[in-house]
Point group: C2
Chain length 167, copies 2
DNA sequence: TAGTATCCGTTTGGTAGCAAACGAAATCGG
DNA sequence: CCGATTTCGTTTGCTACCAAACGGATACTA
């Protein structure tokens, strides 16, 4: 499932057509979607094995730390929204980050159902040290692309996000 | 973290620059990488909530079924490789698919460490019915893009996969 | 051919992720 | 006010995912 130049893909294309009988196949869409997923997996895997593992952070943990760094103390619901996570998932991520000493919880006086989450000093020191390295790593991941290609890629993906994101 | 036209992103850019002090930020790379991840999440989420949930399949389960459909019976190691999963993960996925009655295991006589995995009749019927619908869904996900844009997107991503995939 | 090293798939222990159920707290309607 | 509804974050139950440890089977080497 890599690209048209891959002989195994051409085999796959032929085999799929066989399996499909006469029905037609939207091969361009299939390749675009499957490459989105493969690229995301590769990028995440490499980030976690590289930079992030040194700090004991997963991709989701890093994202959460980053959001808190940029936006400051936030209530759980807003944080989950910004991190693109279900609220139940965020509870677990924050729990892990708390265990590592990176974030802290604080009750909201005005509404006792709510909880504020913010960076600890250790969390702040970590993200300040980590982010520049993460950004370098991001540069490596798309190092094969020119500046305009990166922008083109981001824009094409943005249009996919809009389509796929609108339930 | 959506796009340059998003006022919240411009805020974020300014805020990040503040946090970074004088250090420079590779914003193009950051956007490209984060959009890859966001798009993959959106695409997967929508597939699982839509087509796949009707068949009781996760993204990984679907991929495994698809690979077995196209390539036929495979040994575990090859299947894991083709599905881009760790071998331990594949054990779990196959276990789930077995429970659902979609695949079966068979010992390899020549080497008793190995196991062959293949579709059951029910699994075959399922993927034959499911794949055309999944492919339609893929078309929807990239429906905002022209054919050449889809190919351009796939190609840009392929170059990211190559870079990120080579440890 | 015996001993060692390597190669399999599985298991284990951990984090991540979702949906749905839950309980406490706030809000709304009368 | 007070009962019903809504809105929080958490918990629960499930699947997925990885790395590392494991134990059985095979291959290698002397």
């Amino acid at each position: 499932m890599q690209n048209r130049a891959d002989p195994r893909l051409l085999d796959a294309e032929r085999l799929i057509q066989e399996r499909l009988g006469g029905r037609r196949l939207d091969f361009d869409s299939m390749l675009a979607v499957s490459n989105i997923y493969r690229a995301a997996t590769a990028v995440r895997r490499r980030a976690e094995k590289g930079v992030l593992s040194e700090f004991g952070l997963s991709w989701g943990g890093f994202t959460t730390l980053w959001v808190l760094w940029v936006w400051g103390e936030m209530q759980s619901a807003d944080l989950a929204d910004e991190c693109d996570l279900a609220k139940g998932t965020l509870t677990g991520v924050v729990k892990t980050l708390e265990k590592r000493g990176f974030v802290k919880r604080a009750p909201v006086a005005a509404d006792r159902r709510r909880v504020n989450v913010s960076l600890t000093d250790a969390g702040l020191a970590t993200i300040e040290q980590l982010f520049p390295r993460f950004n370098l790593y991001e540069g490596e991941m798309v190092g094969n692309l020119s500046a305009s290609e990166k922008q083109e890629l981001a824009e094409l993906l943005r249009r996919v996000i809009v389509t796929a994101g609108s339930q």
